[in-house]
C-alpha cells in the first residue's frame, strides 16, 4: 500500500500501527516531502556524504552526530521517525575549513538520520544512518 502523505495524515494513529507492520518509521513520508521541498525534486546522488552516529543511542535525548560532505555548500539533517523531521541545516561560509559539523540531537525512537547535501554544482547528495533508540529500565 502506497503511503502518501494525505493517507498518512488521515490514518492518524493507525500510521503508528503501520510502523509495526511495514517496519517503516511513521513519519518517513513527511521526511520524503521535506527532502523534495529542499531539492525541488532533483535526483539524490550517494557516496559523497557520510554520517557518523552511534549504532545504539543510550538516551534519545542526546545523540551525538557528525556529518561530513566535502565540496558541499550546505547540509540538512532529517530524522525520519521524529514528529518534526527537520533537525538542522549547516550552511558553510567562505572561512569554513571543511564541510564537516558535529552536534547532539534528539531522536524520539529508533529511526534513520538522513543527511542531504547541496553541492557546489547545484546537485544533491544523500546519506542515511540507522540509530537504535532504547527505552531505559528504571534509570530510563
Amino acid at each position: 500500500m502506497e503511503l502518501t502523505r494525505r493517507k498518512a495524515l488521515a490514518l492518524g494513529t493507525s500510521a503508528l500501527v503501520l510502523t509495526g507492520l511495514t517496519g517503516m518509521p511513521a513519519f518517513a513520508s513527511l521526511t520524503e516531502d521535506a527532502i523534495t521541498e529542499l531539492t525541488g525534486g532533483a535526483e539524490l546522488g550517494e557516496g559523497a556524504v557520510s554520517i557518523t552516529a552511534p549504532e545504539i543511542a543510550e538516551n534519545g535525548n542526546t545523540v551525538p552526530i557528525e556529518v561530513s560532505a566535502p565540496g558541499a555548500v550546505a547540509v540538512t539533517l532529517f530524522a525520519d521517525g521524529n514528529p518534526v523531521p527537520a533537525v538542522a541545516t549547516f550552511n558553510f561560509g567562505p572561512l569554513a575549513a571543511s564541510q564537516t559539523a558535529s552536534t547532539r540531537i534528539r531522536l524520539a525512537t529508533t529511526q534513520n538520520v538522513v543527511a542531504v547535501a547541496k553541492m557546489q554544482d547545484g546537485s544533491f547528495q544523500k546519506a542515511s544512518a540507522n540509530v537504535k533508540v532504547t527505552i531505559g529500565g528504571c534509570g530510563g
Partner: protein, 109 residues
C-alpha cells in the same frame, strides 16, 4: 527572556596562517521543543535557539538553522580557516527575540 543562558566556546589561542582549526561551542538553553505537555495537558510552546552563526573578522564561517530536534544545551563542532590574527564572533538567536553572543581572539603567526 530565556534565563540562565550562558555560552561557552573553545578556540585555540594561536594558529599558523591558513591552518584549519577546530572550534567547539556550547550554550546552556532548554530548547523547549513544543512537543511536551504540562500537568494540565496543555502543549508547552516551542522556545528554542533557532540560528547560530560564527564569523571571523567579519567573514562567515558557518550559519546553522536549528530545529527543535537539536538537544538541550546546543553543541556544535566545526572547522575554520584562519588567514590572519583576529576575532571570532559567535551569535545565537532565540525564538523569543533574544540574541546571545561571545567572542574569542586568535593570534596567527
Amino acid at each position: 527572556m530565556a534565563s540562565g543562558v550562558k555560552p561557552r566556546v573553545k578556540v585555540p589561542k594561536s594558529a599558523s596562517a591558513g591552518e584549519a582549526i577546530t572550534i567547539k561551542t556550547l550554550i546552556s538553553h532548554k530548547m523547549e521543543s513544543g512537543q511536551r505537555k504540562d500537568g494540565d495537558g496543555n502543549v508547552i510552546p516551542r522556545s528554542i535557539i533557532n540560528r547560530f552563526t560564527t564569523d571571523f573578522n567579519g567573514e562567515n564561517v558557518i550559519d546553522v538553522t536549528l530545529e527543535p530536534a537539536i538537544s538541550t544545551n546546543p553543541y556544535f563542532e566545526f572547522e575554520a580557516t584562519v588567514p590572519e590574527s583576529g576575532e571570532f564572533t559567535f551569535t545565537w538567536y532565540d525564538d523569543d527575540g533574544d540574541v546571545y553572543d561571545t567572542s574569542k581572539k586568535i593570534e596567527v603567526s
